[in-house]
């Protein structure tokens, strides 16, 4: 997925000389190709994220297409006000890439973990929010973000969970993508980012589940969500993000208005990580590992 990100950035940079890549001194090795291929379009703005976003706004105002890269703990969290006032307020075409979302930095602790970024970004008017699950979705999300010509937050989470898709024909902005069809589908899983893999793995053991990947958090095709909720006896939403304000909240908002359905929300409880360890270890701490998710979903289905 990181190779795909690098490739996509290089191809955008070569296609459009107005693309400028700004990083807050993050992305070690990730930008080697970009720096080699587009050296004049690369700016390390130093460890000064607030200024970096303001500068990106100024560059966008003068006709450039800035892509701002940082860890999602900083982009968008630390600079939310700059995104709101300096960029989104005027529909400026700045793409924000927040890398390492969720618990990717499992050993580093709270400062580098981001489970509040979707909630914070989706409430900013004019700001789109994308959350790809694999390299295919990532490449297309970045391409769509570029075509959007407006402010986009691209959430990049755990990058090495394997491909979800074998290939991906052109996807349309806002649409959910069906990644698995159950034999006699009663239930639907809707997942985003890293948790699409978990959703598929659980569905593989249960046989009657449709699984949808949701790379677009905002804007979205509401009618698709309504239809999925309408046609399901129950829905499970999975995300590596807080239970508050993320994908689960979004689905519940739509379902409660037009197609009420029982929803199990598999997400991060309202707490910071207590311990450190491998990514898998931390998923266990937050009850997002496969075994716990599988058990909780089974229990949910039994209670319905």
């Amino acid at each position: 997925m990181r190779d795909a990100l690098s490739d996509a950035l290089v191809s955008l940079g070569k296609k459009d000389p107005n693309i400028l890549l700004l990083t807050g001194d993050h992305g070690y090795a990730l930008f080697d190709d970009f720096r080699r291929e587009c050296p004049e379009q690369y700016i390390n703005a130093g460890i000064a994220e607030q200024n970096m976003v303001g500068v990106a706004a100024g560059l966008a105002r003068s006709g450039f297409r800035p892509i701002v890269y940082g860890l999602s703990a900083f982009i968008p969290i630390r600079v939310l006000e700059q995104i709101k006032l300096d960029v989104a307020h005027d529909h400026l075409p700045v793409i924000f890439i927040g890398d390492g979302a969720g618990f990717v930095y499992s050993h580093l602790g709270t400062s580098h973990q981001a489970t509040e970024d979707i909630a914070c970004s989706r409430v900013v008017p004019n700001l789109s929010v994308y959350s790809p699950a694999d390299r295919f979705e990532l490449t297309q999300c970045l391409a769509i973000a570029y075509q959007d010509n407006s402010a986009v937050y691209l959430r990049v989470g755990k990058a090495d969970r394997g491909d979800i898709h074998q290939s991906l024909p052109n996807i349309k902005s806002g649409r959910l993508i069906k990644v698995k069809t159950g034999k006699e589908s009663k239930y639907s899983f809707i997942a985003t980012g890293s948790m699409v893999r978990t959703a598929i793995d659980v569905a593989d053991k249960l046989h009657n589940i449709d699984v949808w990947s949701m790379p677009f958090i905002k804007p979205i095709d509401r009618s698709m969500v309504e239809k999925i909720c309408h046609n399901s006896e129950a829905v499970v939403v999975l995300e590596e993000h807080s239970k508050f304000g993320g994908l689960g909240s979004l689905i519940a908002e739509i379902a409660s208005e037009s197609s009420p359905v029982k929803i199990l929300h598999v997400a991060v409880n309202d707490r910071f990580s207590q311990k450190c360890g491998t990514y898998e270890y931390l998923l266990q701490e937050h009850e997002l590992d496969f075994a716990t998710v599988y058990k909780n979903i089974r229990n949910f289905f039994e209670r319905i």
Binding site: G46, Q50, N51, G54, V55, A57, R61, S62
Partner: protein, 268 residues
Amino acid sequence: MKFDPKKLRKTVLDMAYAGSTVHIGCAFSIIELLSVLYKSHLRYPENDPFNKHRDYFLLSKGHGIMAQYACMRELGWLCDDDFLNYFSDGSDLKGLSDSRIPGIEVTSGSLGHGFSVGVGLAMGAKLHKTDQKTYVLVGDGEINEGPIWEGALFATHHELDNFMVIVDENGFQAMGNTQDIMKLGSIQSKFESFGFDAITIDGHDEMAINKAIVGLWKGNKKKPKALIAKTVKGKGVDFMEHDNSWHYTRLNQESYKQAILSINGNNT
């Protein structure tokens, strides 16, 4: 005469009285700075606030916005109705700067934003190889904000000699005296130590302002510029000068009349 400070101050008073608004003192300290900028420095080809070749002026201290509105009226970008109806329901002109108004580059009021956006515009002009200049006006209270100093490092590192920050050093911020709240020391030496060409002048002396701006642009290539303007909050109305309560006080019929008299008196 266009951009006559006395006239600009009267416009601000009319506006503040019509809208029963605050921040009069914040606008009065920057009247001469804006007068000189609009009169002699800011280039708007065809008087078009969106012209691609314009210079950029960013009022980062959005609290002084009435002074900018007054200048924009002189340019014909705002009309009398905008002033008479200030703050009426459904009106466009807000109490802090809003970039959706033609002629206003950034949305401010939350402080410490305009500086970085200005740095980005200056960098954009460099990359486009145009001779556009970027001016950012900040308050002395505003430079408590961290991003100002992040932006100063960045501007120096990238040798943005087409960027000028103007500091309105009126000695006050919302809750009192800057030296009591957060000691600033010498603002000039702070910017100099960040790599700027800097000069301190009387921010109400139009000749001195003009000379300083011309001198800074002629100065050291590769260095961003800082103009530190020593100003008086509430300048121009005797009972408002040095009185920080005019950050918040609204005019009534009597104080409005007295203020107009004071401005007339100061200039006869």
